[in-house]
Every structure is written in C-alpha cells, then in structure tokens.
C-alpha cells in the first residue's frame, strides 16, 4: 500500500541555487591603472598643430632606429666556486715531484683483501619486491638475545627491598611509640599479692572489731567503732573491685 504521511504536507521552501559571484580578474585594477590610451590619439584628424622641425634638427642617419642597451659579458653563476681544472697530460708536475705508487695494483690488492660488506638485512613483502629494512620492523628477535632476558629487573628487586625496609622501620617506630604511650598492666602475681594484703588488713581490722566491747556508751567508743566499720567497708570495696577485674592497667 502506498501510504503518505502528514509530514509530507509540511511546506518546503524551494532551495535557491546559490549563484557564484561574478568573475573579476585579479589584474583588473592594475590594468585599469596602467592602461593609458596613447595609441593612435590623432589617427582620424591628426594633431591640432604639428610642430615643424627646425632646420638645424634635420633627420640624421639611424635616428629613427631604436637605441639598444650595451651588451653585457656572459658569466656562469658558479664561475667563482669552480675547482681548478684537472692538469693536462702534458703539463709539467709541480716542482718535478712524481710518485712511484702503482695505483692499479694497490687498488686491486686493497679490493681483494677487504672484507666484503655485510648486506643490510631486509625483507620483501610484495611480488614486485618492495623492500623494507628488517631492523626497525620488529620482526627480528632482539630482546630474547639480551643478557638479562628473563631475569627480574634490577630496579624491581631494589624497590622491593626498599619497601620491605621501610615497612620494618615503620613497624619498629609504631611499636616504640606504642610502648612509650601505653599504660602498664598489673601482673597476675602483683594482683594476687595486693589482694592478699588487702584481705590481711581486713582480717586484722575485723579481729579488732570483734574484740570491741558490746556496749558503746561513750563517744570515743562510738567513733572508734564507726571508723573501723568505714575502713572495713572501704577494704571490702577494694577487694571486690580487684577480684572482679582480672586485668588491671595502671594509668600514669
């Protein structure tokens, strides 16, 4: 089914073809400035008044021919840089010096004895023989031939050691610091000892307390009894608190 949509109704403005700007020669201005029409100014009517040549200015030989500039001598541009020419065959050697060296044989010998040049390593990737150097290509195994191939790099072991050392130092520092700042712990023996001492004190006071008279009639008696009771109570409280806590720290 051929279906249109409502969107086809949206009016479209016809696209105006953009006209190229009119061609203007870039020489237009200069031509305009330079052009002066002196050609055939007086072609139809002639000049209004033709100046008559004076008798002394008669026409001379070649006067109407154009005057040419003087001819310049030609020089090559590199003339000054050129090396002096090779001596001719029949030139006399300078100061009569002559060498006895047999250049032909020495050259031959040199060539024969020389080690042949190693050809550059290349690879070719197309039928037409487009060659590329092998060295920068990465195709040649370079790194597995290195001496330290497969070993942990030195810098890594160094760094590992450094880290280890730093960690140890830090641990030591922390332990030290902790030790300095920490509270002292009461050892088990000290605690037992303290407990025993307290209990002994209590028993002593208790004995005395048992030995008090039944009647407390005077003020000193009463005072004494009350003091003893308070002391015993305090001791009982201390004993209890020490017994209750197994671990005791002493704050400094």
């Amino acid at each position: 089914m051929d279906e249109g949509t409502i969107y086809n109704l949206i009016p479209t403005e016809p696209v105006k073809k953009e006209k190229k700007p009119r061609y203007n020669s870039k020489f237009h201005q200069s031509v305009k400035e330079e052009y002066t029409s002196n050609n055939a100014d007086h072609k139809t009517m002639g000049q209004a008044k033709v100046p008559v040549p004076a008798t002394e200015n008669f026409l001379k030989k070649h006067e109407k021919e154009p005057k040419l500039p003087n001819k310049d001598e030609f020089h090559y541009p590199d003339e000054k840089r050129r090396r002096p020419p090779v001596p001719k065959k029949d030139d006399m050697p300078l100061m009569g010096l002559k060498t006895t060296k047999n250049f032909i044989t020495t050259n031959a010998v040199q060539t024969i004895t020389s080690v042949p040049r190693k050809p550059e390593k290349i690879y070719v990737d197309t039928r037409k023989g487009d060659k590329h150097y092998l060295d920068p290509s990465g195709l040649e195994p370079l790194y597995i031939h290195r001496k330290d191939y497969g070993n942990t790099p030195e810098y890594l072991t160094k760094r590992k050691e450094e880290i280890k050392r730093a960690q140890e130092e830090y641990n030591a520092y922390v332990a030290e610091h902790f030790r300095k700042g920490s509270m002292q712990q009461l050892s088990e023996e000290e605690r037992q000892f303290m407990l025993a001492g307290l209990k002994k004190n209590w028993e002593e006071i208790h004995d005395q307390y048992q030995g008090l008279s039944v009647v407390t009639d005077t003020a000193p008696k009463k005072n004494r009894k009350e003091r003893m009771e308070a002391e015993m109570k305090q001791l009982e409280r201390d004993i209890e608190s020490i017994e209750k806590h197994k671990i005791i720290y002493i704050a400094n």
């Binding site: 089914m1 949509t5 409502i6 109704l9």
Partner: protein, 664 residues
Amino acid sequence: MSNQHKDVGDVAVDVPRLEIDSILGLNGKVHGGMKVHPNRQHLIYPLGCAVVIEDISTNKQESLWGHTDYVTCIGVSNSGKYIASGQRTHMGFKAEVIIWDYEKRKAIHALTLHKVKVEAVAFSPNDLYLATLGGKDDGSVVIWNVATGESICGHPAQVESAGNTLCLAFSNVNDNVFVTGGDGTLRVWELDLENRKIRPKEVTMGQIKRVITCIEMADDFETETGNPPFFFCGTTTGDVLAINMKTKLFQFLGPEKDKLSLGVTSLALLKTGEFLLGAGDGTLALAKFIKPAEQIKKATPSMKIIKKWKDPENKNRASAITSIALRGIGHQFFVVTDNSQLYKFNFAEFSCELIKTCHSTTVHDVCFPYGASELIATCQYEEIRIWELKGKKELRRLKVQNMTCSAIEITRDGKKIVSAWNDGIIRVHGFDSKSNIVERITGGIRNAHTKGVTAVACTGGKGTEDFRIISGGGEGLVRIWTVSQVYNGKGEMIYKDTLVETLKEHKGAVSCIKVKKNDKECVSSSLDGTCIIWDLVKNCRSQIVFANTLFHCVCYSHDECQIITSGTDRKISYWETYDGSMIRDVEGAKTGAINAMDLSNDGRYFVTGGDDKLLKVWDYNEATVKAVGIGHSGNITRVKICPNQKFIVSISEDGAVILWKYNF
C-alpha cells in the same frame, strides 16, 4: 455569559500578557458583517464577541473588546471616524450597541435599549445619528446622537400585522431619512429632531409581497434607469426591487425569471449602476437594470445578469454569501460566505482569490503531528482541516456530512488521522502518495460507542506494526481497538479493526484520554467526576481519582508520576498516579470552567483555557500563573503547545484559532 472586562480584572495586574501572533477567525454568519474602512486599508469584521480590524496589506489584526456576547451587526460611518457594533445576549437581557472611535480603537459610547439582539446598525451620512434596529424580541428602531451617545427617539419598527424587520439603511445624502425593510414591511422614515419623533411611511408595493434582506441606497447618483432617488432591496425570493424614495412607490424589479436561488442575501451597488448580488446558494452575480426600448410603452427596466460566479470547491453545497464589501468605489471587493470564507475579487477581471478560510462553528479539537510544529489538524462540525501555521493557510479539508468531529488524534508515524464523531463512528484516515486524505478503514469503526465518540487516543503505530486506538464515548465506556494490516480477497492490503477490550467504569461521558509515553498506561477523565488510570497491558483499571466536578481535561506530568486534572470546579488538581492521592489543589480560574490543558514538552509549564476566555500559562512546580493571554472571544475549547515550544495554539467556540507566542 461572563463579562470580558470583569475577567480581565480577575488577573493580577503584574502578570505578563501573552502576545498574539495571529488570529484565524471570522464570523461569516453575520449579514453585512464584513466592512472595508473608508481609508481602504482596513477590513472590519466580527469574530465572536470582538470586532477585528485587519490591515489588508500586512494582515496585522487588532481587536475591539467590550461586547459580552456574539457581535451580530457592524456599521462604519462614512467618514470612517466611528464604528458601531451590536450584539446579542440572553433572553430577557438588554443587548448593547457600542460606538467605537476608529483612530483610538476605543469604545466611546455603550448604548443599551434593545432587548436580546441588535439586528442592524447604520450611521447617517454626516455621522450625526446612528440608527439601530432591534431583533424580533425587541422590534424597535432607535435613533441615537453619535456625539453624545444619547437616544433621540424610538419607534416600533413595523406594524403589528407585519413580520420582523431585518435590515436598515440610511440615505446617502440626507441625515434625516432612512429605510427599514423586512418580512412584509418596507418603510421610509423621516426624523423630526425638534419634536424628537421619527415618522414612518409604508412603501406602496401593490400586489408584490416580499421578505427584504438587504437594502442599498442610490439616492445620490444617477443610474441609467434615471429618476433618482431610488433605493434597491434584495429579497428572499431572489430578486431586487427598485423603489422610488420620494414617492414611496414600488417601481420595478428584476430578474423577472431565473431568480437567484435561495434569495438575495447581500447586495452592493457600484457607481456604474451595476449590482453585485450575493445569493443564498453561494452564487455571486454581476447584474444591471437595462432601460427598455422607447417604443414600448409602459415597459419597465429589466435586469440582465452579466456574470455569475460560484466557488468551484463548493459547487454542490449552499453556503450563502453574507456580505459584499467594496474597497473604495469597487475596483476590488471582498466577499464573505456563511461558512466563514473570505474571497478577494478584482472587479475588472472578475477574478477571485480565496484569502481566508476560517472555522464557521465551534472548533472542537486541535492536534499537532508528533514532533512537527509546522502543521495542525483541527476539527469542527462536518470537517477536519489541516493547516500550515507559518503561512496560516489551510492545506487539506475532509468533510463528513451532517456529523460533528469531537476529537482527533494523529498516530506517531503521521500516517493516520483518527477522529471521533458524534454518530458513534471512529474514522481512520490516511494519506495517499500525493498527500490527499483518503479513508483507511472503509466506513470507519462503526458503532464504536452508543452516544457518540467523545475522546480518542492512539498508541503504537510506528512503522508497519499494528496500532491501538483507545476511545471514550458519551455513555462512559472506554474501548481499546487494534488496527492491523491484512490482505483482502483481492490481495490488497487493507486495515482491519478488532475490539480488544471494553472497560466499563465511567458513568458519564469521557472527556479526555491521555496515553503515557511508553504506551503501557493511559488516563481518562470523565464528566461523572472520576479520572481513571488504566493499565494497557492487563487492560484493567489501576487507579481511580474522585472529585466533585465534571472533569474536562487531564494531563500527565513530565515524569508521568503525577497527573493534573481540571474541570467545572475551576480547580487544577495534582494527583499521584501510584496511589491516586491528591497532592495539590489550586484555583485555576475565577469565573468559568476550565476546558483545556496542555503540558509543555519540557514539563516546566502548562497552559489552561476555559469558559473565562483567558489562556493562562502556569509554572508546573510552583502552580503559579506566569502569563495570561487575552484575546479569545468565545469559550476556549482546547489548547496545545507546539512541540518545539514556540507557539501556543488555542481554539474556541466562536471558531477562532489563535496563535500565541510562547517564550518561556
């Protein structure tokens, strides 16, 4: 009917006004409503409650506000200084006539004497007096002093045995003489200023009985038939009567045979003595009275019709020509038809150009194609139209005789227009390769709803996949349809509809349906005071919202977690879609129900419009009015923000489509 002035007063003064970009509207039903101002540069015509002054060359429009109901007649003074316009109103109330100062575009006098309706107004040639004619419930003629705005005198327009008086015309030369005509009555009146009296004289018609619809004065110039002063009357019989003004005697009529069908509805006299006759069937004729040959005694002039014209688009339909307005002396003239079309004619070539096609009745719905702001589709009685917004031109029109389209929707791919009609049919139209509108489902989906289809929405339909239509009816049902492509017996691809589900929850007419972006949920509002959120996957109700109102519109918020509703209680309510609880309740208008609502694409603003004729732009989060658009002269029926958020389009009951600039 609410008062426009009061409405404007409701709005806080500091709220900025929305700027009108253009108004597409013209009330073509007003007889003689189109006028050309004597400066030849402006058209004056009625639109709902307003009088619009439009520049002919630039199309710039200005409106004169002041009437409380539809304008029924317009008169322009000969000097162009004044405009008078009359209105109708409810039974038992007084209808105003307003005299406007043309230069200042301001009302000078409001004249209140006529009951219910003002039938016609006319200025005297030197702008001294204004004659106004009341409607059939009033039946009186009143003469007013234009300068002071005071009534001079009044008189019953016709004798009791005669029918209604329909038209009124002042003499072209004499400030004290005017003519009224109507059903079996034709009177020439003379004003006696000193005694404050107008005295009628019946025109002697002899055996002829006519209903006069329009009068054209010719007492200031000589026609070929001689003997001024004449005046000419167009009749419902389809002929033109010539009456001698001095003797008050009927002289002659024409055409004798081949009368204009459906009567002469408008008449214009040119300086050449030729007539432009507008007929009830939409024919425009150029005619002339020809002097009889001298030899024949007692012969009367006969009318010869020189040219006839009828809109080729409207060949088979009668839409009366309601006014013919001459520009200057008539080298150019404007013709308005009953269906609100405005033609511009060049007299010399008799060539015509259709310059305006406006909605002639209530515009019920407007919608944009998805993502395109250049086009809108609108619908009214019998018609669906597609407009191009930039050129304000109508591109396509679809007609279904005698039915009213109450809602339209365009599918996502833009290939189909789904429309809801009051005969209970959902019609689906598409476009052919030349973008003409063609029917896609032959005969539409019949018997979709028993009390007419009132709301419609679409889901899916991207590419070749099936699409679903969700429709709501006047009886309260919400139905879901699937439209799929199948092959018929001839091997042609056709569309076929199947009913998927009938959801029977609403008790009143469904007013609005909106679908979520993911097509899995929709919300429908109903006049029974409920809004229901439907699950489109399970095809069942998921939430319901109750309020003591008739819901007219509903909208999803941008994130679709909330809906906003409004209706006759003039409140804008925000609701949670998850549990249907109310979040917020704001008063949306002071005087009239809210009919329409639309959320902008970015979700920050929404617009509302309603019976208070005001368009309001709201901030969604703050629920405060950001701008108010004053310009509608009828109840606003639907509002839409264009997808690229450049314009707001609002439509109203008077047939106007207003484009507002939206700059938020």
